[in-house]
């Protein structure tokens, strides 16, 4: 674990106007700034909330964040942006990506800590149980965090950070983005870890009612603690094409990762059948993955090279232009907690055909989607139905309806309500919390208690070695947009 001494230029924070505030802050306080640091770093969650009049200071933790693109990553980013607009302070913590490490600032002053723990498996940080305790503690104290919000059950950093935050007495929230099974060994292990984390969480959020049911069953969490806040879509970005597309040929778009979970095998059966039944139908397939080879083989076998376009991986910024080339969006996932892809497609005015799995039926109204069982013949039938009702669809009208139904500002307001509820939860002592862990299972309960006790002891030792008051609090930096360019030009 080397100390980051000489750093690359790309690693520094962009130098901003804020440091005027910083120097003024120190000028005003002079040598007594030491005392100020002592006072401000001894804040705990409830005191912080009261003194800030309902303004929360949130730490979002996940292994999945920019520069990766995906459902969870976009959710965290867009939710954080909307919370910043509501005048809360948001800090994101994730692991380092390639050479992106250290502190970065994103739009509107969203501060991101890329902690230099390298991912070891599928974007997840190496789970060391207690290894992340020092850095999590440092970040929580220096940013005066009042609430920790973890995302995604599959993220080890999230579980560890939530555990440490609970040990230190902070209020903790968890959002689950995916559905998991119960039967295979991976799921059993994951569910046990989830049970541990959720045993002591203040509140939880799920993205659909199906997901809530799944989470409650997997973790044994009381349903009263779980809120359902569906995801949303950025309707300003996903707009239909200005000119309505001609109906011949009918273009069916598929954009997804080509993996088993997303039903790529179903596509291999469905596409040749549809191409046989309807000579005027074309397919556009965007995305990449292990199953791409099977789709290429299908193309070769049925000589569909001129009727099926494989685009490869589509960057998120280009998704809209690909969607605007089509009439129908096909989603063949085998499991989905909440499918943002079909929401993006509907926002672009496409009629959706999807497998009826997980939370998919909760996303769109019945007249915007045709559902089918995850079975090739049923899907072919659904696509036939969609092609028949296609002339009745008005893309602009669909877009306006989606705009009225989904917005990230709404998600942020609802999440704020959950934060307020979480902060009202009573503070609990270590013994009270340990009793909750004991209910997790005969052996597991005792093991979890042991893990938490060791964490508590390590925290106290860390406090002796580096007291809370030695951790410097970061002054609040207000980001101002640059108007200097135009002013300079006008003055010369």
């Amino acid at each position: 674990m080397k100390n980051i001494g000489g750093m690359h230029k790309s690693g520094f924070i962009e130098h901003m106007e804020p440091f005027n505030d910083l120097t003024m802050w120190f000028d005003e306080n002079g040598i007594d700034s030491a005392k100020l640091i002592v006072n401000s770093s001894s804040f705990r969650s409830s005191e912080a909330m009261e003194s800030n009049h309902g303004r929360h200071r949130i730490l979002m933790v996940s292994d999945f964040f920019y520069p990766n693109f995906g459902g969870v990553e976009n959710h965290i980013y867009l939710l954080s942006q909307c919370l910043l607009k509501l005048n809360h302070k948001v800090v994101v913590m994730t692991h380092a990506y390639a050479n992106r490490s250290g502190v970065r600032y994103m739009t509107n002053g969203l501060k991101v800590y890329y902690v230099p723990w390298k991912p070891f498996l599928m974007q997840n940080t190496l789970p060391t149980f207690y290894g992340t305790l020092p850095i999590v503690r440092t970040i929580l104290i220096r940013e005066k965090i009042s609430l920790v919000h973890g995302h995604q059950a599959f993220s080890t950093l999230c579980h560890e950070a939530l555990m440490h935050a609970r040990t230190m007495g902070y209020k903790v929230l968890f959002t689950d983005h995916s559905l998991y099974g119960f039967a295979d060994i991976g799921s059993i292990h994951m569910n046990k870890v989830l049970q541990f984390t959720l045993a002591d969480v203040s509140q939880a959020i799920c993205v659909s009612h199906t997901s809530k049911e799944n989470t409650v069953l997997r973790s044994g969490l009381p349903p009263e603690k779980v809120f359902v806040i569906p995801n949303a879509v950025d309707t300003t970005m996903f707009k239909p094409a200005p000119q309505r597309l001609v109906m011949d040929p009918i273009v069916i778009v598929v954009i997804s990762r080509l993996v088993y979970r997303k039903g790529a095998d179903l596509l291999v059966e469905v596409i040749p059948e549809i191409c046989r039944l309807y000579p005027n139908v074309r397919f556009i397939i965007g995305g990449d993955g292990p199953k791409r080879v099977r789709l290429e083989e299908m193309r070769e076998k049925h000589s569909l090279q001129d009727r099926v376009d494989m685009l490869g991986a589509v960057p998120h910024a280009k998704v809209r232009s690909v969607l605007n080339c089509g009439h129908i969006f096909l989603n063949s996932s085998l499991t989905e907690a909440f499918c943002i892809a079909i929401l993006e497609a509907a926002s672009c005015g496409l009629l959706t055909v999807s497998t009826c799995v997980g939370g998919v039926p909760e996303v769109l109204p019945d007249d915007m989607i045709v559902l089918a069982k995850p079975d090739p013949s049923d899907m072919v039938h659904a696509i036939k139905k969609a092609i028949k009702i296609l002339p009745r669809i008005d893309p602009q009208e669909m877009h306006l309806r989606i705009k009225g139904m989904y917005s990230w500002q709404d998600v942020a307001k609802r999440t704020e309500i959950v934060y307020n509820r979480a902060l009202k939860c009573p503070n609990q002592s270590l013994l009270e919390r340990l009793s909750r862990y004991l209910t997790c299972g005969a052996w597991a309960g005792k093991l979890f208690c042991l893990v938490m006790i060791v964490d508590y002891i390590l925290w106290r030792l860390l406090q002796v070695w580096q007291p809370d008051m030695e951790v410097e609090v970061v002054p609040d930096i207000k980001v101002s947009r640059s108007k200097h360019v135009t002013e300079d030009h006008s003055s010369t």
Binding site: M1, N3, I4, G5, G6, M7, H8, K9, G11, F12, I13, E14, H15, M16, E17, F19, N20, L22, T23, F26, G30, I31, S33, A34, I37, Y66, P67, S101, G102, V103, R104, Y105, M106, T107, Y113, Y114, V115, P116, W117, G131, P134, I135, T138, I139, R142, E470, E472, V474, V479, S480, R481, S482, H484, V485
Partner: protein
């Protein structure tokens, strides 16, 4: 001339002297000195002396092998190195406006290493948050022309922000950088 403030914490002290002897040009010197307590070395030396005396006593009176004395001397030296020895005594920044900046490191062995950066090479002094796998701290560095990496002003010490800010302000003034940004660049 205002008497410059002395800021200190448990481990480090900040000292600032301005040399106004040269007319029209002031050489601005900032030192970060590692704290030296008086009581701690006395206690450690006393303990080590007692240990060595005890080992000698064991050797001559009780007939223990002479290797005991050697081990006690070695252990004593190790303790002194660990607890009292300061590998770096002082790190200084000497700012000569319109000329350059000199960075000095004074070692415990008496060695002094210096490096000079002309003012034309300095693009900007920056206060930077460094994140390590275990902690996060502020550091002051210089953006130097044609250098890929940031040049750290304090290579070994990690002074707190309250000590770094006056030095940063002085560097900004000397290198003629505006403290506010010219352009705000968005990441991502």
């Amino acid at each position: 001339m205002v008497n410059p403030p002395v800021i200190s914490n448990a481990r480090l002290t900040y000292l600032h002297d301005e040399d106004k002897f040269l007319p029209l040009q002031a050489v601005d010197t900032h030192h970060i000195v590692s704290q030296r307590s008086i009581l701690k070395p006395i206690v450690i030396y006393l303990f080590v002396t007692l240990l060595v005396v005890h080992a000698v006593f064991l050797h001559f009176k009780k007939g223990k092998p002479v290797i005991t004395v050697y081990w006690s001397l070695l252990f004593g030296a190790f303790l002194i190195k660990l607890l009292i020895w300061r590998p770096i005594v002082k790190e200084s920044v000497i700012i000569m406006p319109a000329f350059g900046v000199q960075l000095e490191t004074h070692y415990g062995s008496g060695k002094i290493s210096r490096s000079f950066i002309p003012v034309s090479e300095i693009l900007k002094p920056v206060l930077n948050e460094c994140v390590t796998p275990l902690t996060c701290f502020w550091c002051l560095s210089l953006l130097v022309r044609d250098e890929e990496q940031l040049t750290l002003v304090f290579k070994k010490f990690r002074p707190p922000l309250k000590m770094l800010v006056p030095i940063w302000k002085a560097l900004c003034a000397a290198t003629d950088c505006k403290e506010s940004s010219e352009l705000f660049q968005e990441d991502g």
